[in-house]
Symmetry: D2
């Protein structure tokens, strides 16, 4: 699919995303960072830390799910009206490779911005010195409230 372009109806969408993103205590606990946000898109990043791993030293699936859900959720939030928030209704995550990067990048994009629901997809990549490798993909259904 070609990447679609969207228009934000809230000119301050980026500030709204930033405040909400860093307003999540759990995201601060794990150390996630908001990298970029444009209408219908959001990219977040997470450096590797030992306490974020499962029993073999890879990023925990729960962390990968967190990154996928968050990038999708904030991609959706860019398209909502001022004062709105989005709730995750459900998501499905396919884990394609162990999360063995020095960090994770998660890129969320809106697939469909409907009147009632917003559907997004997030791709999560293992980041090493030279490359990004797709480690997981998720489709997320969100409800603006």
């Amino acid at each position: 699919m070609p990447t679609r372009s969207f228009e934000a109806i809230d000119p301050d969408y980026a500030q709204r995303v930033k405040e909400s993103f860093y307003g999540q205590p759990f995201m601060r606990l794990v150390g996630g960072r908001l990298i970029s946000v444009t209408p219908g898109h959001c990219e977040i990043q997470l450096p590797h830390k030992p306490e974020l791993t499962q029993q073999h030293g890879y990023f925990h699936a729960g962390i990968i799910g967190t990154m996928a859900d968050n990038a999708g959720g904030y991609a959706a939030l860019t398209l909502t009206a001022p004062g709105k928030e989005v709730l995750t209704v459900e998501y499905k995550l396919n884990l394609l490779l162990p999360g063995n990067g020095k960090g994770l990048i998660s890129r969320g994009r809106v697939i469909k911005a409907g009147r009632t629901l917003i559907v997004c997809q997030s791709d999560v990549f293992n980041v090493t010195e030279n490359e990004e490798v797709l480690a997981a993909t998720a489709i997320i259904t969100l409800l603006p409230v």
Copy 2:
């Protein structure tokens, strides 16, 4: 569906689950506890802590996903041979209510233990003084390796 009964082929399955569960640095970071493990079933618990929340003080969706995936994964692990592990292939999580309990309980059960794949379902409950309320449900596909 009536709850199915399973037999473990590894008599030491409970010890194996326990070691793997507490061998997860991320699960130690968030404070999850293994409550019970029987063949095909696993129950885990997580007390509320402010750093596990999203921007409104509820349990973060990433935490709820972590609890769902883990209970399902360890339910699956009870049925594997000694020395085996299980990888999450994919899961789908429906968030039914905000995670507003004083804690979360996640109960995973095996739906189908196939030769190649194990399919589990986890229910995640908000726990308050007097009751448990279903907050999320997930279906998880796992690969024994």
Copy 3:
């Protein structure tokens, strides 16, 4: 999970389900039958026919998905107000066994009837002379409109 009991707000819910179910040309093409409908629950059935199979003579995955989605959708419809319909937002289907029964039974039940969305689960069984065997399970998100 214990089966929850629900109350229908439309006393004519059963008639509404029946009309909608048999109003689906595709369901008539494949030969599905509405077996029972109670508040929050719906059971449908499909006899085996050669033209419903895939290349090995089993029920086609598309047919199993159709049965899962329909039972869940009509379970949801029982709880809506008169004049309402439900749209499937998304569903996830795990295929656990080949669809090799003499027929399929699909039982849908409501997991959560929210204000905006209804979440259901459907189990699809292979039916033989003596038994029913779980062949697939699905979680379905529906939007009343």
Copy 4:
């Protein structure tokens, strides 16, 4: 995501896909056609017929799911060794718009061809005289056997 390129290990993959596709009695019943197949990709098409609809004259969700699953399954099959087949383990389908085209096109592509499992995504489009509009997307997990 940029479209990945794959190499087929079976030089006769296209013939194998064709025979399997048209060997499905259910696909013949509904009238699906195989349009193109290249390594890691498959496109199939379905003209509108009244008997494929739900109660409002749109393509039935079960038909849309069938198209999504089939395009993904045959995209996966292009990458398998001679004599292999693929089983759908699970799929998740998001329905984005009513299936109101004069026909449906479903395009499946491989996201990850692993040693044990293949993960695909399918996009299903409503086709009208002048355009294609995305109506559904699915992520499918497949097992080569």
